[in-house]
Symmetry: C2
Subunit: 313 residues, 2 copies
Amino acid sequence: MEKSVGVDLGGTKIKIGFFENENLIKSISIDTNLAEKGKFIVSDICKVVNNIYKPNEIKYFGIAVPGPVLDGVVYGAHNLGWETIKLKEEFLKYYSNSKISILNDANAACFAEFFLLPENHKNVLLITLGTGIGAGIIVNRSLYIGSSGAAGEFGHIKVSDGNKRKCNCGLYDCVERYASATGIQLSAVENGLNENISCKEIFDLAKNGEIKAIKSIDLMIKKLSIALAATANILNPDCIIFGGGVSKSSDYFLNKLETEFKKNTFRTNKNVSFKTAKLGNDAGMVGAVLAAKNNIWLKFIRLLIIFMIQIAI
Amino acid sequence: MEKSVGVDLGGTKIKIGFFENENLIKSISIDTNLAEKGKFIVSDICKVVNNIYKPNEIKYFGIAVPGPVLDGVVYGAHNLGWETIKLKEEFLKYYSNSKISILNDANAACFAEFFLLPENHKNVLLITLGTGIGAGIIVNRSLYIGSSGAAGEFGHIKVSDGNKRKCNCGLYDCVERYASATGIQLSAVENGLNENISCKEIFDLAKNGEIKAIKSIDLMIKKLSIALAATANILNPDCIIFGGGVSKSSDYFLNKLETEFKKNTFRTNKNVSFKTAKLGNDAGMVGAVLAAKNNIWLKFIRLLIIFMIQIAI
């Protein structure tokens, strides 16, 4: 029996999943300790893991991180207080027998959701609508991470002419200032709703016809559709999947979003299908483990398949 | 000696290049006959080609087309008057012994320019600034065409809040309404310059300090930088190359564009380098031939190299 661990490292919670073969047998959530620039995060994770599995029995260890990752190095994860950190090396100190994979959290989620799609999908965009907005990209059936591990910074696409809302990244009018949970809350407050209202409450109000809430979500839809249209014009994907906390309210916004998207995108993308993520909050953990398992033989087999397809067409 | 033909099919001119091995030995330009929805275009090309080479001695035949292409089928090329057309089949009627490749013109140009870059480049965006705006994308050292052959529709990214300028595609405020030759002319007229002014004249005026011309090009730079920033946020490329007629004035706008781009893009793209295309108007022809030559053995070798690299890292 093959034991693996998948970790989804978030700014408020860390989810740790324990797998036997393909099955998630246990999942533990702990608070993220942000003290001293997140220096206790790695040891906190190890403590929890070592309570359940012996270090040398873990075959695959995958960690999903909220920041750009290239070759095991995290290039800043501001929600954790991290600057550049050699995370793979850190974990190898504790788990020298494991195959360790570090990847961006949206990429991990995308990888996991992609595995659940029918075989005919090959170019997929996953958008995670949470506190911020991330994206994972599959092109030609492989995860695409870009030149410095920072592909899919969808949340920072500019969607307004003026400099109306400043983003944490230093830019103005990034789509995540309008379409993340935080962005929707900003609009709600601007529209006169209570300052402490949660994103879920805004959606609940909108479903009940409350006009300020509807207006806030309409703005989210409008701005998100512009960034999605731009992205689809570039990637020409076959489907776009929505994950993250806000996607739990997709029954309210997904159809409207698709209609608005089709108004803004080039005609060649009118058939792009919109889906909601299936794995919910587990996607990061599952994707991290899948990526760790995605060893060179799997890569070889996949490249061989791509080669066969290219000969065939 | 290996004989090949590369064709760049434009809305006003068709360029036909005759190659011996790797060398372009002759190039002929003819007017594009748009009569009867472009039905004479293929036979016009064949007449010119057959005057120079015998049909059965042409080993590789590449055709670059201004529209989305998938598996030898062109899905509409409005500048030529074409609806969906099985172009590879059309050419196979005349050149049954040749290896024929049909691809989008921006993709062809991108493919050609990519071959001239140093080995360390693997994710590249080529922007062609002409009458319209196109884009070609290289990801992981391969041409990326998307799910329906329509990746890189960069020209139709929306770059304004209002519905100010209608585009030929039916959408409003596509970047090509501001940053193509046509777009720059529109701005110049709005700013009070003569209706019949050419794009080159606008750049010449701007270089001489004429304020209306400067304002027109500043708007081009501003809007183009927004679309480039969005695209780089998604693709995280290592370089962006500018081709097409407008790029001849890159000495005036490229540095300003790079500065503006860095103001609008996510921090991870601050090191993306800006370059001008080297092949000029030959890029489409050269890329089309290279694509036709890019046979399954080359694909196999490339996949093998990618595989070796993936093992190594």
